[in-house]
Amino acid sequence: MLLAMVDLPAQDKPTRPPRTPRRGFTRLSRLQTIGVAYLLLGVTLVVQVAGALDPAQVVFLFGLGDGVPQVGVQPAAFTLGTGLLFVLAGVVALGERWTGRYAGVALLVATVLFVPLVLVTSLALSAAGTMNVVPLMGESLRVGTPVALGALAGLYAERSGVVNIGIEGMMLAGAGVGFVVYAVLGAAGGWPLYVSVVVAVAVGGLMAALHALLSVTFRTDQIVSGVAINLLAIGLTSFLRREVLLPLGIGGGSTLPTIEIPLLADLPLVGRSLFVGKPIYFTMFLIFALTQVVLFRSAWGLRVRSVGENPHAAETLGIDVVKTRYQAVIVGGLLAGLAGAWFTLETVGTFDNLITNGKGFIALAALIFGKWRPWSAFGGAVLFGFAEALGRRIQLLDVSVGGFPVPSQFLQVLPFVVTIVVLAGAIGRAIPPASVGVPFERSR
């Protein structure tokens, strides 16, 4: 996924006119700009941060239980080393003309080092001295589940040429209506739980069908249609909550049961953290594998992709563009509904207004980050999951900077900041399906 950062400039959009040199100063290339950022960051680390850190060693554990491997790190030395590497990478990137492709490699290495750097410094700044890495990974995957499913929802729609910024609304509707059905059935677990999940999935599909109706049949601006879907979901779910949930007086219910994957759950170190979880979490992996096969190895997938790239050529070949777009958008909606069920029926066990909290939009960012490819989008989703899991962990660790505790709001917005940084750094060369956003008109 990090390869997104090092693509060669030759992949610039072909429609862009030749670059005119800016008056006054020479313009930095993308890699050089990133290089400057790393240079500044590296200097700050070396001069300001490394000396200020608590010199005591911090310890990272890998896995649960006794006798797991552990790594001790000297924070000051690690920060100093990383800072120097950042400076080096920055210099190499700035001298892109002479260093050639090493510029990209240097920046890639620097970016990979970012994660351990954040872990080490936050641990050094906290009261605790140890952190277990494997549960953090597990939590990243779990928290990333709705984002990953949402990204798939967007993937199907957008590969077929329909922009879908209504993922958030489809998720919210699935989460809300699914839980309302569950509450009406008693919220006591058992079979109603699974019925409610199915309802959530179906509701996501229905909202997607509405999106398809608006944007494919009526050729509404697809982004506007997505906004309408989001607004409708907010109104619908908060209305249902006030009219149905609150009178029922059901504050919460039991959620989907935790299951263990046989054999894999007994793997040393990672087993208990990664292979013990809840159904939607595991289903997500299955759906990703399935999507890879369906989109890239089946006739239907080929149709979806061709409709998204060049609908008129596809039509000439006898493909029903409208039908294919409907199918793709609705399949995506079903997945968004499942992501909604993750919130209410798998994780929290209750429904609050706006419970999806922008995850649908982050999913979209993950999709763009992953350049409209399933596994890369999954990588993006896990990255955002990691940002959120780390934020929670830092909050628990009681990290303080300059004598003040790190504000909880800062940690809550961390995934959003990561999204912006990633988009600004990566999308320039992420090329969307050619016909995404363009309403299709049947030729006569």
Partner: protein
């Protein structure tokens, strides 16, 4: 009418002229039909939960416009929507989808609250203080709108996603600045519910009618509508903005700098929204900022801008409709025993039918416009993820 050489086509009786007028008026009538259709579908929802739609809408109407006080309340409620919708519409004109009005309002309100409650400025007369507060709001919004502008122009990061992320970040930033007890930034340490320091009396926008809640910000909002209209329709810059909105390639070919326009439009839109936020915190009943003060105003203003088809003057009635729905809702809840959230559904339906004007045109038999100048009014707002 009776120009030489011009003959009316055959069969132009009164009826066909009326029909002609009916189709000509489409830009005005279609949004009105959309509102009516939304109300009709909304009444189905009301029936479904066992209430009487006539009672409900009657209560809604009298709550919104049943008395002079109710009307003043509606006007007061609409004020921030007018300004925020201008910010969205301004973006639409340049082909940019500014979902960030929410965050820009908040940052404007934050800057205004900071300046308006600053001990260093205490004692300044209102003549000097009020413009300062509004300018601070504009600056806060400008910053928050400028970020997506620069990112879009320089890196191609899509403004829809960046502005949505910035909304969440603004909410976090405001919550921290306003409520953080350690270090104290803008928290009123004497208050039991966390909110910002109260603004100085001379930094508060005066009420137009005492006790009504309707403040000077409403006049500012109307003036801004005129300003935006003037800039868009009567200046070279406005022409560039509209050109790059309709066709970035044509604009580029004509020698206009599209990246410059993108940055400028989003920053200016942010500044507009920032003024709206400043107006709300300084003209509102409390005179202090809480993180939830402006919730959803920015999102709703997207719907208002769409309803008004991004026309600066049409925004005024559209925002009044929105403000009326909101300020009438409590009476509807009281009389018809319906949840306030019903209004949210009706609002969503309005935007749905406005967006899908094909449905409305089909229902009310309004022909699609054929001529390009009519199409220009409703140019495609956003074009996928293309840079």
């Amino acid at each position: 009418m009776s120009e030489p050489g011009r003959r009316d086509p055959p069969g132009r009786g009164l009826a066909s002229r009326l029909i002609e007028t009916y189709f000509r008026a489409a830009p005005v009538t279609v949004p009105i039909y959309a509102v009516l259709t939304a109300a009709a579908v909304g009444s189905l929802v009301i029936l479904a939960v066992g209430s009487n739609p006539v009672d409900a809408y009657g209560a809604l109407l009298s709550g919104a416009a049943g008395s002079p006080g109710a009307i003043a309340g509606t006007l007061a409620r609409s004020t921030p929507y007018i300004i925020a919708a201008l910010a969205v519409a301004f973006g639409f004109k340049a082909g940019l989808f500014n979902i960030g009005a929410e965050g820009q309002l908040l940052m404007g309100a934050l800057a205004a609250a900071w300046v308006g409650s600053s001990p260093a400025l205490a004692g300044l007369p209102a003549v000097a203080y009020l413009p300062l507060v509004l300018m601070a709001g504009a600056a806060g919004g400008l910053l928050w709108g400028g970020i997506p502008g620069v990112l879009k122009a320089r890196t191609g990061a899509h403004e829809v996603i960046v502005t949505i992320m910035l909304n969440a970040i603004a909410l976090g930033a405001v919550a921290w600045v306003v409520t953080s007890p350690d270090p104290v930034l803008l928290l009123d340490t004497t208050a039991s519910v966390p909110h910002s320091r109260p603004m100085a009396a001379s930094a508060r926008l005066p009420e137009l009618i005492a006790g009504s809640g309707l403040h000077l910000g409403f006049v500012v909002a109307l003036a801004l509508c005129a300003v935006v209209w003037f800039v868009l329709e009567r200046t070279t810059l406005g022409f560039e903005i509209r050109t790059s909105g309709v066709s970035p390639n044509a604009a580029r070919y004509a020698g206009m700098s599209v990246p410059r326009i993108i940055i400028l439009v989003l920053a200016a839109a942010g500044a507009l929204a920032g003024i709206g936020g400043a107006g709300e915190v300084s003209g509102g009943p409390n005179g202090y900022l809480t993180p939830g003060l402006l919730r959803n105003i920015g999102f709703d203003s997207i719907a208002i801008a769409l309803l008004a088809r991004a026309n600066p003057f049409a925004i005024i009635p559209a925002a009044l409709l929105w403000g009326g729905l909101l300020s009438g809702a409590p009476l509807m809840q009281l009389r018809a025993d319906l949840s306030l959230d019903l209004v949210l559904i009706i609002q969503a339906l309005i935007i749905l039918f406005v967006a899908a004007d094909a449905i409305v045109r089909f229902l009310f038999r309004v022909r699609r416009p054929k001529r390009d100048d009519e199409l220009g009014e409703q140019a495609i707002f956003a074009k996928g993820w293309g840079v």
